[in-house]
């Protein structure tokens, strides 16, 4: 996209709001509107991956050390990972903190 969408005037919008660029949803960070984020205490994590299984938005990835972490660009802060975690190593923290 030539410029950010919030700077488009009506003239910049393609006819019928057609999206001609494939895969441009990547530019849209759907995690912007969460109010809480998961914080992992890796010392307590057993790398079981239950959070990865339950995440409804596939926002959890495995890092190089084998720990499971949330990609905050896409995490909506629903808290399912924290609830399902067996060891209680995930805590939901208010975004403003």
């Amino acid at each position: 996209m030539s410029k950010p969408i919030d700077q488009f005037t009506w003239k910049d919008i393609p006819i019928g709001c057609v999206v001609t660029e494939a895969g441009n949803a990547r530019e849209y960070r759907t995690g912007d509107w969460k109010s809480q984020r998961p914080v992992v205490e890796t010392a307590k994590c057993i790398k079981c991956g239950v959070c990865w299984v339950f995440c409804p938005d596939a926002a959890i990835y495995k890092n190089e050390e084998g720990y499971f972490l949330a990609n905050l660009d896409y995490c909506k802060g629903c808290g399912i990972c924290a609830r399902e975690c067996w060891t209680g190593c995930i805590k939901m923290v208010e975004e403003e903190k």
Partner: protein, 392 residues
């Protein structure tokens, strides 16, 4: 140019116009009084006379959804409905307009339930007024034929790309047999070349149509839709002018009858214009300078033409064949008043509601509207609207 004069039912003439327009796809669900249009088209397809897909569906919601799909792949698409059918399409009406899919629809105007009525008025069209389609009204069978051909050319123009409704009064137009001049296939082919979509769904070139719009873009998208619908006006005029050059039948957004020197005007839409002309003739004989205004183009609303046509008028009576209950009364009159509000010199406008759900409006009733408006002009206080031919 060659054309053949034949007597046929207006619905059949409309179906023949769709055939002559080389339509690629038709999807519709039968509903009175639109039925004969799609019945005839399905016969034409089944008999091999029309090389198109006729997709039968289980509802009008599906019919217009199918049309959205076929139009999105670049097929010239037609549908037809009435009343409850249009109401069931309501959701998709707005979607295809926003997606700028140039579908053409015949709307055989019929009253909305309840009480259930299969008969003619304009309440279906008025309830879908803001759907974003170009909306054209017709007066007789020939106009239905002509406007159907023109509708494809207008809708598909790359400067427009807006779906278009051709309104024809249910029964009073759809079911009457009239003489029609059918333009030859050769001439139609020259006038209406194949549809060239700006965007079409194809696996070789992926596109997203109908995506969501976040709050930071939705308003701009709606503004674009409004401006483009307004701008379609010049293309509509251009297409009508070209059709006039070809056939000698000329169309304008607002047409007039005996408006020379008129001080009082009567504004009507659709097939009742013909009856109103008779009333105007009678009242002219009584020495009253009355003229008739026929509103053909409903969307985009022809503000300038309306203001121009009103010049010199002191009084105006507007007939509405729909009622906005608990509100403004007549939707057409409300638009006319809005168009005139900013004018320093403007006629005093009176709203009349008549002809609901198949109730006839004979010439006498039009005469009554003219006389009533002249009487009311002298009074200071005016009702929101008056009714004619309704037992009060």
């Amino acid at each position: 140019m060659s054309e053949k004069r034949v007597g046929m039912e207006v619905s059949i003439a409309m179906a023949e116009a769709v055939k002559l327009a080389n339509v690629d796809c038709i999807s519709a669900y039968p509903i009175t009084p639109q039925t004969h249009i799609v019945e005839h088209l399905s016969e034409l397809v089944a008999d091999g006379g029309l090389d198109a897909e006729f997709i039968p569906v289980e509802s009008e919601h599906s019919a217009l959804s199918v049309c959205a799909g076929t139009s999105a792949v670049g097929a010239r698409t037609f549908t037809a409905t009435s009343s409850q059918g249009l109401a069931l399409m309501h959701e998709i009406l707005f979607i295809v307009a926003g997606m700028r899919l140039p579908i053409v629809m015949a709307l055989a105007n019929r009253a909305l339930s309840s009480p259930l009525s299969i008969w003619n008025d304009h309440s279906d069209a008025m309830a879908s007024r803001d759907c974003g389609w170009i909306q054209i009204f017709t007066e007789n069978g020939q106009e239905v034929f002509d406007q159907t051909i023109c509708a494809f050319k207008i809708a598909e123009d790359q400067r427009v790309l807006i779906p278009t409704i051709v309104n024809l009064d249910g029964f009073t137009l759809s079911h009457v047999v009239e003489p029609h001049k059918l333009v030859s296939q050769e001439d139609i082919n020259k006038f209406l070349p194949a549809y060239k979509p700006l965007y079409a769904l194809h696996p070789d070139k992926p596109l997203t149509m109908g995506a969501f719009g976040m709050p930071e873009i939705y308003s701009e998208a709606k503004l674009a839709q409004d401006i483009n619908l307004r701008n379609s006006y010049s293309v509509i005029r251009e297409v009508w002018k070209e059709w006039g050059g070809l056939t000698g039948r000329n169309y304008d957004p607002v047409e007039t009858y005996r408006m020379e020197g008129a001080k009082i005007g009567l504004l009507v839409m659709g097939s009742f214009c013909e009856t109103a002309m008779e009333a105007v003739d009678r009242v002219r004989e009584q020495g009253i300078p009355v003229g008739l205004l026929k509103l053909r183009l409903w969307r985009p609303f022809p503000f300038d033409d309306i203001r121009e046509a009103m010049k010199g008028l002191e009084t105006l009576a507007v007939l509405d064949r729909a009622i906005s209950v608990g509100g403004i009364g007549g939707p057409v009159c409300s638009e006319i008043k809005t168009a005139l509000y900013g004018q320093t010199k403007r006629p005093k406008v009176f709203s009349f509601i008549a002809g609901l759900g198949g109730r006839d409006v004979p010439p006498d009733h039009f005469e009554q509207m003219i006389h009533e408006a002249l009487k009311l002009k002298k009074k200071r206080k005016v009702e929101e609207f008056m009714t004619i031919g309704i037992r009060g």
